[in-house]
Amino acid sequence: MTTDVSGDVSAAVSLRGVRKVFGEVAAVDGVDLDVRDGEFFAMLGPSGSGKTTVLRMIAGFETPTEGSVRLGGRDVTGLAPFDRDVNTVFQDYALFPHMNVLANVEYGLKVKKVPAKERRERALQALRTVRLEGYDKRKPGQLSGGQRQRVALARALVNRPKVLLLDEPLGALDLKLREEMQVELKAIQRQIGITFLFVTHDQEEALTMSDRIAVFNAGRIEQVGTPAEVYERPASPFVAGFVGTSNLIEGQAALDILGREGVYSVRPEKLRVDTRLDAELPRDENSATGTVAEVVYAGAATRFVVDLDAGGRLVAVQQNLQASSMDVLKLRDARVRLAWRREHEFSITGPM
């Protein structure tokens, strides 16, 4: 493995050749990663892909079996958590149950021997930032999930870390609250301007919140890029499938439909479903005919699962601009033609 030992000096977080072996299983198997200063960075992957282990190695809860971890250019590979300038928002929030909200938020400052008055001011300021004024005397047990999440955030932010690590920060919240907190986290990050590095298995969360995403699979990083890059130009079939619906056209189908070999993918929303099989096709478009196997009406849009005549199966999503549920449901078993602009089909070059 070739690794650049020095790392990127300007990077907030920099990993080089990091491996972590538990027993005989390599949870993290050679990860290089640079997170820029001030970035909102997501580590996305299914459970067991090693993303949380990477986060824990950056926080200092685990020591890498091999490789190095640098924070702001400083090698912290062997340092304990309390000697690192990062703070973590835990998945289960890990609020101290016997302390009230204020004591929880003040904890880090107290450890660092910040004078009582300043401590109090900064803690209350942090609680204002997360919109929890007036909750300082409550115990964690008296708060809702979303409020606990904010306390955990305030408790980490009050220490003004260089990097804030968030482990599935919104995983325990219900959908509505999660969407609210996504917007809020983003706003807070923009306001205080520190690097946020967060772990999630939710591709939508990663796409909506982050400046850049690293997609993890089986202990390795498959792709690093902006949400648009990762979504529009996935580097491997795994990324194509995990970030969105994979919609692969491969083998004989690729030859028949596109006239060339390889593995290609088109995102579901780029496909146009047409019941007129012989309608004229714009010059810059490709098309494939097939039979609708399944229609899923989802309010704003409808998902069509289409078995292609050439082999394979594509999912198409259409906005319900005019159609109602009655109309679309009639299309089950119907013959349709899927059409898409050539620029929206992309070849997947990565390992299968």
Binding site: F61, F82, D92, A94, F96, Y107
Partner: protein
């Protein structure tokens, strides 16, 4: 007039009756334990208190069933009983302190460090001594403390010698006997403490000792108090260990025992026996504030 009847045989009808009458169900569930609690337990405790106010005829040794405060006057006025009470409480406190000091690291290792497999084995290992006979263990310690015993054999090369039989030997033996009762509640308490809390403290800059003091201890303290109820009360009431390894030292337990046996003064034995009961009531009232009673 037709009453509600369940279909089927008598068993089904009975089950139907139980279903319609929750009070009968409850009575069936609780009658035996309640009988046991009221008659065997509270009854004997009441008998103890009543007996404590009787006396014995000095010539015949027969129990005189007349209310009399003489036993308690003797207990208060004769300094030997105060000394014995203080000594017994001292031993019980020492046993509790030793057990908590030994139990905490052990329980911490079991709950937070050992692999799940090792964890199961360790719980069994901690429980095993409880399945062995009390006398076997006490006599094993007697052998160890004897002048030519294992302790002596170990300590001689470094210029020491076995402490012999006495209060120290009693304390050590009792601490050994009751240790599992301290380890298990603390282990259970630590099991309930999420690892992420320990991580969070470290993440916020706290080193090990501070994490222990501010995060681990406050959550485990009630569990330790729960354990101390066992070690304290069992030590306070014990009369066998002190007879086996205690030499000529006297604790409350043996005073009771001697008055039941050799002195044949049941009323006085009953009066002495109320001392540990009273101490335990005070102790339980004191620990109730810590929330330990929810940890039992």
């Amino acid at each position: 007039m037709t009453s509600v009847t369940s279909p089927g045989g008598p068993v089904r009808r009975f089950a139907g009756l139980l279903h319609r009458r929750p009070s009968i169900r409850l009575a069936g569930l609780l009658s035996i334990p309640l009988l046991w609690l009221v008659v065997a337990y509270l009854g004997s405790l009441a008998a103890l208190f009543v007996t404590a106010f009787w006396t014995t005829n000095e010539f015949t040794g027969d129990v005189v069933k007349v209310f009399d405060l003489g036993n308690f006057q003797d207990l208060v006025n004769e300094s030997v009983y105060r000394t014995i009470t203080l000594r017994s409480v001292g031993v019980a406190i020492a046993v509790t302190v030793i057990d908590s000091l030994v139990a905490f690291p052990m329980a911490f290792y079991m709950a937070k460090i050992a692999s799940p497999r090792a964890q199961r084995w360790l719980v069994i290992a901690v429980l095993t001594p409880l399945w062995a006979g009390y006398l076997v263990k006490a006599y094993a310690w007697r052998v160890m403390f004897s002048g030519s015993g294992v302790l002596d054999w170990f300590l001689r090369p470094v210029g020491g010698h076995a402490p012999g039989y006495g209060l120290l030997a009693t304390t050590i033996t009792l601490a050994y006997l009751w240790l599992p009762y301290m380890i298990l509640p603390i282990y259970a308490g630590l099991e309930r403490l999420p690892n992420s809390l320990i991580d969070a403290a470290g993440d916020l800059g706290a080193r090990s000792f501070r994490t222990f003091r501010t995060v681990v201890w406050p959550t485990v303290f009630p569990a330790a108090v729960a354990g101390s109820i066992f070690t304290f009360s069992l030590s306070l009431g014990d009369y066998i260990a002190v007879r086996i390894v205690g030499g000529r030292s006297q604790l409350i337990g043996n005073v009771v025992y001697d008055n039941v046996g050799t002195a044949n003064n049941l009323p006085f034995a009953a009066a002495v026996a109320t001392i540990p009961v009273a101490i335990m009531v005070i102790y339980l009232l004191a620990v109730r504030r810590t929330g330990a009673l929810e940890n039992l």
